[in-house]
């Protein structure tokens, strides 16, 4: 791993990949939100993202790499951290000095990862198959319908809602904490951290809203 062999480099890499995913999440959310008021806009955006060469050939691989990097690194760090305390405490009161979310990033992360699996199964794999394997003709209006269809099932909608709750928990610590990791901790950082906490709740809540909106409106 060369350059990321030190603990601080790993921590910064974790933060930067996380920040990148947070950024992507914001963009994803913005597009999805349009589905609740304008199926046309949603279709336009989706079509653009799904067919633009730059997005498909460059941003998409970068994003996939970012996701894989973030969770692989997360697992590596977790393994190292566990080996840093081989004998555990009989009594350990973590809640007196730190938040539950900060101590359980690995678990909230695993849930989000599992969700990503579901999400890829639902949208990404069919999409890739549709476009590149079956090589169907381009259809700029299919996206909204595909989206709505997925949220018919109450089980799936429930799973999505639950996953977003975990995403919120993950982001609640992760987003704000990434500033500290990259060394940004001063009076401006305090404002930014507040923004990060709000973002961590609002964006997943928004996703939940979208899921429920489509579930109950169709």
């Amino acid at each position: 791993m060369g350059i990321i062999s030190s603990s601080i480099a790993r921590k910064v890499a974790m933060a930067l990949s996380g920040l990148f995913l947070v950024l992507f999440l914001g963009q994803h959310f913005t597009i999805n939100l349009t589905s609740t008021f304008s199926p046309e806009t949603f279709n336009e955006f989706s079509h653009f993202m799904g067919t633009n060469f730059l997005v498909q050939a460059i941003l998409q691989p970068v994003l996939i790499f970012g996701v894989i990097f973030h969770f692989v690194m997360g697992f590596i760090l977790e393994a190292r951290n566990r080996s840093a305390r081989k004998v555990s405490y009989v009594s350990y009161k973590g809640n007196t000095n730190s938040s539950w979310v900060s101590r359980n990033m690995i678990y909230t992360g695993i849930v989000v990862l599992a969700f990503l699996g579901l999400h890829f199964y639902d949208f990404w794999f069919p999409e890739i198959a549709y476009k590149y394997i079956e090589a169907n003709p381009s259809d700029a209006t299919r996206y909204y319908g595909e989206l709505v269809e997925k949220f018919h099932s109450p089980v799936r909608t429930g799973l999505y809602v639950l996953s977003f709750v975990f995403l919120a928990l993950h982001l609640y610590h992760g987003f704000a904490s990434s500033f500290q990791s990259v060394g940004f901790n001063n009076k401006y950082a305090r404002g930014l951290k507040k923004f990060a906490k709000v973002y961590a709740i609002v964006i997943p809540a928004g996703f939940i809203f979208i899921a429920l909106f489509h579930h109950f409106n169709h």
Binding site: N81, R85, S91, T96, N97, V182
Partner: protein
């Protein structure tokens, strides 16, 4: 005051340890936590048992020798104190107190509650200094004015007593708060600038070699630190490290 103590007993580094329960009576509010253990040890000696071994020295909160994970927290439930200054008035009659050594792979147990914290020393050997000769042929102390704010921040970082509570509290047994306090003390002073790049690289490398965990910013270290060393130091060290890496 009557208490039940559950204490980790371990003969030596290689032995298997276990928790042992000791009832104790006659504890007074004014006693320090270590004085309470003194009372227990006197009883154990009188009974012909081996006393409980624990690290301690100055008993005024500055040498950093005392440790102990007390009821799941390093230096016990009180804030901004070391175990030697934790007083029994913080406990109630009838309480059960669980006493364990600081746990970290980089802090192996020596005996009972004593752990080996020489990993901290090795981090400091790697770069915790400014390379000036001790000849006394230095420039006048007042020839480099230091901004009071920086001097105060440097002092605040330098108040670290090297007790290891940060490692003990951290769920990852990370030594970032300790190392960053040492890095920050020098990073904030003009005298420390010359070797800034090598210092942070060498100290972080040693910290990693010792087998401490990674920082995940839970903030437990800052809360449990008996000297209130701030997380800002960790951010500063990250910056220093990044700029050192950038400079190559």
């Amino acid at each position: 005051m009557k208490l039940t103590l559950k204490i980790w007993r371990q003969e030596n580094a290689n032995a298997k340890g276990k928790m042992v329960t000791y009832p104790i009576d006659g504890i007074e509010d004014d006693m320090s936590f270590l004085e309470m253990l003194d009372v227990l040890n006197e009883e154990l000696i009188a009974k012909g048992d081996d006393p409980v071994e624990f690290d301690h020295d100055c008993r005024e909160g500055i040498c950093g020798a005392c440790s102990l994970q007390i009821n799941g927290e390093p230096h016990g439930p009180d804030r901004l104190v070391t175990t030697c200054q934790l007083h029994m008035r913080k406990f109630k009659d009838g309480d059960t107190i669980v006493i364990e050594p600081f746990r970290a792979t980089a802090f192996p147990v020596i005996k009972d509650l004593i752990v080996d914290r020489s990993s901290f020393d090795r981090i400091q050997h790697a770069g915790g200094y400014i390379s000036v000769n001790t000849s006394g042929n230095t420039i006048d102390a007042n020839s480099i004015p230091v901004n009071k704010h920086d001097a105060d921040d440097s002092f605040a970082a330098a108040t670290c007593i090297g007790c290891g509570a940060c490692v003990a509290a951290c769920k990852n047994a990370s030594a970032m708060l300790f190392t960053s306090a040492k890095v920050s003390q020098y990073a904030l002073l003009p005298q420390g600038q010359v070797e800034a790049v090598e210092r942070v690289e060498n100290m972080v490398r040693q910290m990693d070699l010792e087998g401490f965990g990674n920082c995940t910013n839970t903030g437990a270290c800052e809360i449990e630190c008996p000297k209130g060393i701030s997380l800002e130091n960790i951010a500063r060290m990250n910056r220093e490290y990044l700029s050192a890496t950038a400079k190559g």
